[in-house]
Symmetry: C2
Subunit: 282 residues, 2 copies
């Protein structure tokens, strides 16, 4: 099962055998016969920014620190240059606290809000849209052969998805190499964990490609653009607003990537057609 | 394409030809050839409970009133017996305001919260878990042949999914008949729209089956149980906490329903095996 070729370039590969991520359960099948199966774990994780409780995410529970950092960054609650004093995960309390040296812009804004405006989600959403205007994505070239190679490597890598199903993956790639392969019950958690890893490891974004198993919605496009990654690839489909935002911000958006087929609905100027393959389409 | 047999029992069927729900876009395929395709719309809808802004949901935009009612009900921000004065949708502002005769319990609770406890999401989540203890699901019988029939009818009904992809469906059923077929970019929106319809139409829940194309997570199980529906069926997989909660609350949880196969991981005492089919499994 294990493909050494896939893993040797990966910095983080799926933890298929981690006992904390799946659970054996018993049930019955369509004929009433007993069946044992592996199902994916899902647990709450409450993210704090300093003393402020921000959100409770449902997650498989790996990489809570990356999830918290990436979530706060992708919600623009955390500036990329913010000085981070620590990220403290408490397994028993199911909390992560991200501590910054000074109160963040977000906290300051939130404390100015009137009480009646309610949940922060709406406000933050508006802020995120504003942030897109500042994004300039680099004009790198992407060879179409990389996309086929990535798709094949990612889909044949032993994963929690193959083991237990019910998870989405987001994979940070460089050219035709998957680097960081994150999975989660929430597809947004998977991309947030990648973002948290990039922030922690001070990774460049301009030379990366992001692959997701999930749909290409506005939120996926916004997150990818805010992360500074110029190319987003998925085996799933598109939403109209996802396509519109990708065009607006100049993101290369490739979807329905299956076998040797794909559709590009934004930013096809980055593509270099080094592999045309009508005859061997799968 | 149109299957009259499917639709004649449906109260709400997918609006495949509604121009507001999909958009034609142009792109290129894997060979650089131009392609036209339909993609699903996705637009923000901000839900208010009286004067309080609650959340901005990303939705395809049909049935905003049902979505708002169902969301508030499924978040336990609205009591089933709450006197609702009106549900006002403003297409231009992209808002829905649900007005109640008196301030709701939720609003009262929220106004007592200290400011520092931040976004309401975490708090509400705790409340939802508490609400599960009060749920008693009726011991109705479910014939396994209904599940096969439902699965076939639902998956062959002309739908936005077949037309444009990138949506999830939730279908309210009675025995082997799909009654209300809701689709949305957010799978939780689809179930909330069903809940809003049930609340508006004062439907009984005990005799219903809920079908979803999405995964059987804790949140799907919680919503179904709070709606009072004893059976939840999906073609997708399970999470461990979804299974645990379903067992705790006595919900029949059927997943991986494809062709004539399924797995039941909770509440199989409701199943009546009227159709055993090893020989014709697909």
């Amino acid at each position: 099962m294990h493909d050494a070729e896939n893993d040797k370039h990966m910095i983080i590969a799926p933890e298929v055998s981690a006992p904390r991520l799946t659970r054996k359960v018993v049930g019955v099948d369509q004929n009433g016969a007993n069946v044992d199966m592996s199902v994916i774990e899902e647990r709450p994780l409450t993210i704090f920014l300093n003393s402020r409780e921000i959100v409770t995410a449902m997650t498989i529970g790996d990489y809570p620190e990356y999830l918290a950092l990436g979530f706060l960054r992708n919600q623009r609650m955390l500036d990329p240059n913010e000085e981070i004093l620590g990220v403290d995960y408490d397994e028993e309390l199911e909390t992560v606290v991200v501590r910054t040296a000074v109160e963040t812009d977000y906290e300051e804004k939130l404390s100015k809000k009137t009480r009646t405006s309610g949940c922060a989600v709406g406000t933050v959403f508006g802020d995120i849209m504003d942030g897109l205007d500042a994004v300039v994505l680099p004009k790198v070239a992407v060879q179409t052969s990389w996309l086929y190679t990535l798709s094949k490597k990612i889909n044949t890598t032993p994963s929690l998805y193959l083991e237990a199903g019910a998870v989405h993956a987001t994979v940070l790639c460089s050219q035709d190499r998957p680097l960081v392969y994150m999975e989660d019950v929430g597809r947004h958690n998977a991309v947030d964990k990648v973002a948290g890893w990039m922030l922690s490891e001070k990774q460049t974004a301009a030379d990366k490609i992001l692959y997701t198993t999930g749909r290409l919605t506005s939120e996926m496009v916004i997150k990818t653009a805010l992360m500074g990654i110029p190319v987003l690839v998925s085996r799933s489909g598109f939403t109209a607003w996802g396509v519109e935002l990708a065009n607006q911000v100049g993101l290369t958006l490739v979807g329905r990537m299956k076998g040797k087929r794909f559709v590009c609905l934004s930013g096809n100027d980055r593509l270099q057609w080094d592999h045309t393959n009508d005859e061997d389409a799968q």
